[in-house]
Symmetry: C2
Subunit: 331 residues, 2 copies
């Protein structure tokens, strides 16, 4: 199997990306096409023992930066690692694309070069929460702010397929984000989407409220990109605020400081269990190719795991499963 890895994507690219690529090539036995500035990537590669690994470099002279406007960047940078990487997928030279770069850029490049899967109205950007109870996929988290009910149904189908085929969750529970449990709650669009999801073959568990999301009640949380984005960023913000506050309170007194010191392994345990790096990346679903987007702050382990997720998506036949899932609902 061949995976395209955007060597220039991520806050600490290309260093951690190459590090992760070497680890992934060794661990999963796949060929990894490193797309980026050849000299930079080659220089970085010399720091590792790559004997027996297949890590060819595909030169791309341009880089789409984190703060660039996605659609515009993709157009003015046709030789960027993202666009060049997508072209390799399009030509069938590789089976999946992985990047920890500008997620809007990845999406724009994917739409431009791969296009949508047949029958898909709108691709969705997903995020994965590593909750104590298991991974939870939230989608859309920013690609589509104003959604139609049918798009939300498709997000549910794509999310369910992903959790089943890629993360191995049997019959994933699909919930619809709303402001109340009852099916009469929610915006007009959400109420209509509720009926569509209810009538589908998905294992739809009904509306889920904000408080239900972290309990892991649903494996897939369907939302428009507005509320989904708020969910992902708020969860991050609340956790940061709370941990900061605990740290502050612990440092107020020598005894609590000692307590904090002794309890340190517990806090590290919490960090490990909530570590996004474990799941590597989240998919861009609905485009005609396997596209995995890692967190901008990805470390080498996150990159390695993002490659693993891409491998699992290819092996699990994710694209075909989405296509047939969409067709069944329509038929």
């Amino acid at each position: 199997m061949r995976i395209v890895l955007d060597a220039m994507g991520g806050d600490r690219a290309p260093q951690v990306v190459i590090d992760g690529a070497v680890q992934a090539a060794r661990e999963y036995g796949v060929e990894i096409l490193l797309v980026g500035r050849e000299d930079v990537v080659r220089a970085e590669l010399t720091r590792y023992d790559t004997a027996g690994l297949s890590l060819p470099i595909v030169h791309a002279s341009q880089v789409i930066e984190m703060e660039e406007h996605p659609a515009a960047a993709v157009k003015v940078k046709p030789d960027s690692s993202m666009v060049v990487g997508m072209e390799a997928i399009k030509r069938g030279e590789a089976q999946a694309f992985v990047s920890a770069g500008n997620s809007g850029g990845v999406m724009a490049a994917a739409l431009l070069r791969l296009g949508r899967l047949r029958g898909i109205k709108r691709p969705a950007l997903a995020a994965i929460f590593p909750f104590p109870s298991g991974p939870c996929l939230v989608l859309d988290v920013g690609a589509n702010t104003d959604c139609k009910p049918e798009w939300l149904l498709q997000f549910g189908i794509m999310g369910s397929v992903y959790m089943e085929r890629v993360l191995g969750v049997t019959r994933p529970r699909v919930g619809l984000l709303s402001n109340g449990e009852e099916e009469t709650k929610g915006s007009i669009v959400v109420q209509e989407a509720h009926q569509l999801l209810k009538g589908s073959d998905l294992r739809f568990i009904g509306n889920v409220e904000g408080k239900d999301v972290p309990t892991g009640m649903a494996d897939v949380v369907v939302s428009d990109g507005f509320a989904g984005n708020v969910v992902v960023k708020l969860a991050e913000g609340v956790a940061k605020m709370l941990l900061g506050l605990i740290r502050e309170e612990i440092q107020r007194h020598p005894l609590t400081m000692l307590g904090g010191l002794l309890a340190k392994p517990a806090f590290e345990g919490v960090r490990t269990r909530l570590d996004y790096a474990e799941h590597g990346g989240a998919p861009l679903l609905g485009v005609d190719g396997v596209v995995i987007i890692g967190h901008g702050r990805s470390n080498a382990r996150a990159i390695k795991n993002a490659v693993r997720v891409a491998v699992q998506a290819v092996e699990g036949g994710m694209l075909e499963a989405i296509k047939s899932g969409i067709t069944e609902v329509k038929g």
Copy 2:
């Protein structure tokens, strides 16, 4: 000053409500009209020393329960404590209404008996976050799921007036909840609301993302009732999940357990600093009366503080300030 207190509202009513009422009457020197089943309220009152306090009982034979459908309940229970209490406000016998009961019921009763303030398109239900950096008002949190841009502007005006007149925040910073900082981000409604807020006299700081909310970047966060509800409930859920996970990890090993024991005052400090009871309740804004809704799980201190908030709203001239704020924008 006279405050109406719904003696039957809240998970632990009437016990904690009467307890809080006695404390509030003593501490703030106000008269508190206890609306509810006379025999029950009277029996409860005998447990306290109420010498010198003014705590008259207004009989109401019915109670709107937590799980009842608000609009329906208000209609079939015209002698409920909520409806009877609102009528006392309407007749000018008291200046504010406080309840820790079914918030939808309070809103339905307020709309039925008090109606909207002149010029207000839709009343908004607010929630207050006790962040380390200070209180943050989020509105709407569930009264209006599908909103028009103009309603969001009015939420901003009402929220700003509340923070200034009631909680004493000078020139409150008003943020608009969105899925990105740029003014081009957000749903179509949010983008239009951005322009309205930008053109207003409010201290508008632009869009705020989910991650910004807990930092206290904004004193007022404007949102439709769908996303606002998700924000309030998700924040609660994430905090609960995280604290549960910390507890679990601490209990894994004798040493971390000892650490947890020593650090206990720090955790209690965190709890105190994030205690909703400190702020007592959040306002229903846009109805023609001061209405404060406490958390269903209110304890006596929360009830007492909800009365304090009501007193501050009356003394701060909140209603008049909202009226003139709305007129200025229109004129």
